[in-house]
């Protein structure tokens, strides 16, 4: 028989730690936005992001994407450290011991509270060695700033670094669909760099995400 008294002793009755209303707060006197741990959070406007993209495009031309990807890699590394600390402390467990369902929910809610859009992890190609990440309403998809190509390089770099740390395997990330090009969502494929290499020309030729996945599935 289940004892409710015993169940109540369990500290794992968790709700949404990243609920924006309690996770983020403004210290308006000092002009700061902080998270629940007192770490500074920055609100960046669309104009600021466009200006960074345009400035990079102007200075380094076609390498702007690569620069943004590398910045994303650094960001993802630190972001993973912060995320791991917060989630482990909330669950009083190491990240590796937290159930995938809860972990995936934490990632989704973290994204949402930071205004990075709605993220979904798709494990349909997990057995083949790929993780698909879908993000809707990404702030990083900037139309026409980097030319006629998927523009979420910063995000792709961040995802590659974040999931590399999470899986303890070096993963690359390539964006296959972008809201800035009229798609209804941004899709990213994560996997070993060697296995993802062949799809780069397909992305450049504007091959659809489903055709790219079919190609990866067969190769």
């Amino acid at each position: 028989m289940i004892s409710i008294k015993e169940l109540l002793k369990d500290t794992q009755i968790k709700s949404n730690y990243f609920a924006a209303e309690s996770y983020l707060k403004g210290d308006f006197e000092s002009g700061l936005i902080e998270n629940i741990n007192g770490e500074r959070v920055l609100a960046i406007s669309d104009i600021c992001l466009d200006s960074i993209y345009a400035g990079l495009n102007n200075e380094v031309g076609s390498s702007a994407g690569l620069v943004l990807f590398k910045c994303g890699v650094w960001w993802g590394k630190s972001f993973y450290r912060q995320f791991a600390e917060e989630v482990s402390s909330h669950y009083q467990q190491s990240l590796a011991d937290i159930r995938m369902m809860e972990l995936s929910q934490c990632i989704q809610q973290f994204w949402k509270s930071h205004g990075w859009g709605l993220i979904t992890l798709d494990f349909d190609y997990y057995q083949q060695g790929f993780l698909i990440v879908k993000i809707v309403q990404s702030p990083f998809a900037r139309p026409e700033v980097l030319g006629n190509e998927p523009s979420c390089y910063l995000e792709a770099g961040m995802l590659s670094s974040f999931f590399s740390n999470l899986s303890d395997t070096k993963l690359h990330c390539i964006q296959t669909s972008c809201e800035s090009l009229g798609a209804n969502c941004n899709l990213f494929v994560l996997g070993l760099a060697k296995r993802l290499e062949p799809i780069q020309p397909l992305v450049e030729n504007k091959t659809s995400h489903s055709d790219i996945m079919e190609f990866l599935d067969k190769n």
Partner: protein, 157 residues
């Protein structure tokens, strides 16, 4: 805090509050004291509310894994705690942000929708017995919100 009361904050730069606006605050404080009573009834009877539910669920779902039953009960213990907090804070987004958006995918993912819906129905019955009809009506908006978003979505899926 109640949104209508929070909106009154902005009026200070224009004028002192009028009688009608002060009545709103008085009414809010009066209702808050009533809601605090409900909060105390439920929080002091958490075990009494859930133990009979756990027993009935055990008898109905004899083939179900005990871990899943425990998980579903924990989710509903959490939901009831959040209904109660939403009652005090009067924030319509509270239960969405804190529990519904959080638990809906988990209940689906762990395939405990049928179990969860049964606990919801037993919990409703239990609360309607523990609370007077007026007290129950205070909780009703949150119960209905949960029913529309969590329970009905389980039925559809």
């Amino acid at each position: 805090m109640n949104i209508k009361i929070r909106e009154l904050h902005k009026k200070a730069e224009m004028h002192y509050l009028e009688d009608q606006e002060l009545d709103k605050i008085g009414n809010y404080v009066y209702l808050l004291s009533k809601k605090t009573e409900i909060y105390k009834i439920i929080s002091s009877q958490e075990v009494d509310i859930f133990q009979p539910i756990a027993n009935q669920i055990n008898n109905i779902f004899t083939e179900e894994e005990p871990e899943k039953i425990e998980l579903a009960l924990k989710y509903w213990i959490s939901i009831l705690r959040h209904w109660n907090m939403a009652l005090i804070t009067e924030d319509p987004n509270y239960i969405h942000e804190h529990v519904l958006d959080w638990l809906i995918p988990q209940i689906k993912g762990y395939q405990i929708s049928i179990l969860s819906n049964k606990i919801f129905s037993l919990l409703q019955k239990s609360l309607s017995k523990k609370l007077s009809s007026v007290q129950y009506s205070f909780l009703k908006p949150y119960i209905e919100e949960t029913e529309n978003n969590l329970v009905n979505s389980n039925i559809q899926s």
